[in-house]
Amino acid sequence: MGSERHTSVDEHTRSILVPHIGRQGAFVDALHDVQQAFGYLPEQALRVLADELKLPLSQVWGVASFYDQFYSVPRGRNIVRVCTGTACQVRGCQAVLQRMESVMDLKNGETSADRAFTLETVNCVGCCGLAPVVVINKKVVPNRDVERVIRDLSKGDEGDE
């Protein structure tokens, strides 16, 4: 839909795709590389990918939407996940999620404008014993520490800029 040609995205994507052109089948690898480069799968990059690999865009999107690890919107540098698996449901994850939404001022699935954080839910991370579970950047964080960790991360993040 984008009405301008995103020359830089186009060129960047094309260079990423060079090793994948002409290779049959494994365009999932190409998707991975594009996501590596941009942090997510920008629309224009997927259009270029479809053209370059001569695949229907619908098929590219079908695969991209199939895998959880592909993102079509920019993601935060820090990922906060609230587990909503069965055990966590039982132990009140909904309340945890609500609290996180208000603490972070984000809705489930959203990324903050400065791209510091993404808040999302996940289905059972395999530590049901600790339920309800919050995972921050792949680490399970005890409930009482969550807010502190987030505060630290946002400070550290500012420091980086």
Binding site: S3, E43, P56, S58, W61, G62, F66, Y67
Partner: protein, 815 residues
Amino acid sequence: MKETAPITLTIDGREITVAPGTTIIEAAAAVGIDIPHLCYCPGLKSTGSCRLCIVEIEGLRSPVVACKRKATPGIVVHTDSPTIREARRFVVELLLSRHPRECLVCDKSGTCRLQRYAYELGARADHFLVEYPNHPVDDGNPFILRDPNYCVLCGRCVRICHLQGAGILDFIDRGLKTKVGTPWDRPLDQSGCDFCGSCVEVCPTAALIERQQRGRGREWELRRSTSVCGYCGAACAVDMHLKGDEIVRTSTPQQVGYLCARGRFGWAHLSHPERLTMPLVRENGTLVTADWAEALDAAANGLTAVRGQWGPGSVGGIIGTGVSNEVAHAFQRLMRAGLGTDNLDTSLGFKGLDVLRDIHEIYSGKRATLEDIAGADVLLVIGDAARRSPAIWPKVKQALASGASLIYVGFYHGRLAKAASVWLRSRPEAAEAVLHHMAATLLRLDVEGGRLPGRRYGDFRNYRTALQRALTKPVPDPEGPDESDLIAACTFFGDLSRKAVVIFAADGITRGTASAAVNLAYLTGRTERAVYPAVSAANAAGILTVLGNGKAPAESGSRGTPLFAGKTLVRGLYVLAEDPLSAFPDSERWREMMGKLDFLVVQDMFLTPTAALADVVLPASSHVEEGGSFISAAGQLVRFDRVIPPVGMGNPEILAQIGARLGIPRLRDVNDPTAEIERLASNCTAPDSKPALFAPSVSHFVVEDTPGISLVGYASCFYPVHDAKLRRSGFAELEPYDGDGIALSPEDAEALGIVEGVEVVALSPHSQASARVKIDNGLLPGVALVSPDAPVALALLGGSWPLGPVPIRLSVATT
């Protein structure tokens, strides 16, 4: 080694012999056993995903999928055993657990396969935990209502969209959230959907339905009758599903047939409230409703009076290019025998007449058909033919799917360019030169072998000399194809063992381009069924043939000149199914001419701007209300029946009645001039001449050095919304700029500092018009597009029809 012996098997106790490769479901169907199926759809590839078609084979422990499993000799198949029924019931009950139970009000009720199998298998709806998916509904377009909540994920729509549509559907997401959707899960109207409706036709449930059908009748109330679409020269067959005399929906008579958006959804105008039902006669300056006899008298008397006063040469007629041969025949008889005039005109003068006439004279062989395109090994597509006549597109896809190579000559980076093996980039003014360069390359590559059959034609020497002379001029396009592209194209096209078809739209390219294209076919010895001259007008070939008595009409049809130029000034005019004021270039000139007429009769479905000026307005009928025949772009006589009665009297009867008043009582008999039309049609397709090459004329190469932007009338979508009938069938909603859009490349827009939606003033050598900018990523810099018959195209391209290109200047409109 491939097995070729027939295979005999037993299905439900019946012995059947089938060809090898036949699936069990096909074998069963051949003897009338209908194995339940959802994802299987004859004509589409089987995926074996729904598992409803399972059957038992004696000796095998588990059931097999009948739509995938091939018949093998001696197998004994049971399609309806208790075990099988139980397994099928399980499948259906699972589907029902996620399916809204709205059969009471569902439009698909009666044809829905889920409903049918639920009933036949006695499935209980509440056997599983009921959990509706709650997907949002896509109802943002005028034609297709997409409610994924009714979807059973059979994938038929996905397959057919890729087979013959825009290829925008696929399964998206995963697990319980899986659904059929478009990239980024956007609504169809934002996803590049063609609205061909193919997906609707094959959907077994109410997940995809025709929006216009809603609440207007369910299958058991409908009767079905076959007719022909009248929106382009492809003449596709359409099945009308009728409730009473109203068209509720359409489909194709074939198993997996194709209709474009116009043929499938372009029918609501027939029952549009603005449709004229009674004649109008001008009284004291205003048009008032009159009864038929009065209006017919007025029409006949008015025309007779003009003839009496000024002589027969003062009367003229203009006829639309979508009317049947029979109506055209009656009309020309009325004008010629009844009024004694030869002043007959059509819009073809600026819509491909020259090219059609050339093809008629120069291509000695039979024309290619759509099936020839589907079966070709090499396709050479020039310009926007596949948009002007959309039925070409699925045939091109079909050919590509079986390994054909596509050479596309054009400037648009759209689906043809993307699907092409070779894209010979050419700005609109350079297409002819590119084809000549292709011819020269073919000859060069052939030097040693000397195999090209074209070399043997008597006029080859002339041709080659002229070609060489022409080619001393460079390709007038710095960004044109380079040597390696030309060689690649010639490697495909020059392979004489491959069946090739050259495709272009007669009303979309210049004469020079058309004959250069025919030359390529001839050079490579493709003298039969190798040229497909598509055309936007439904019955262009028929009108030309009938008006010209089989010969190309010498004078008729050249932009109004026979009518209004020269000494014989036309003072009485009869316009049938045409609207010069809105559909012809130079509308101001036409308005002026019409103002000077003594008498004007207009026969149309609507009170068009032209009709509003008339002295007598007669309500016209549609071809589906008459029955008759067209001559298709492939040169075939295509007959169709009347499917509904006309609103009012109908064109044939109106012409017969006026004929009777003018003293030709037998016009009605001539209304069935079957034999004569057949004779004319056969004349039209196979002229008796030898293949000959056409010396390129150097003059075509003179391209002025006009830096800047050239404007061209180009169909970049499947629906020309400026058509009065399509507009009244919902198509106006699809066009954001209402016919006044001008498409620019992002580069040009940026250079001019213009963004999407800005109003600009465009200045062409013919005229000036304001238009709104649409930025189109498919465009090469230096080219701007307008839809071929949009008002802005008629204004700016004016004298240079059909294509231009004309150089334009753009400036931002000041308000």
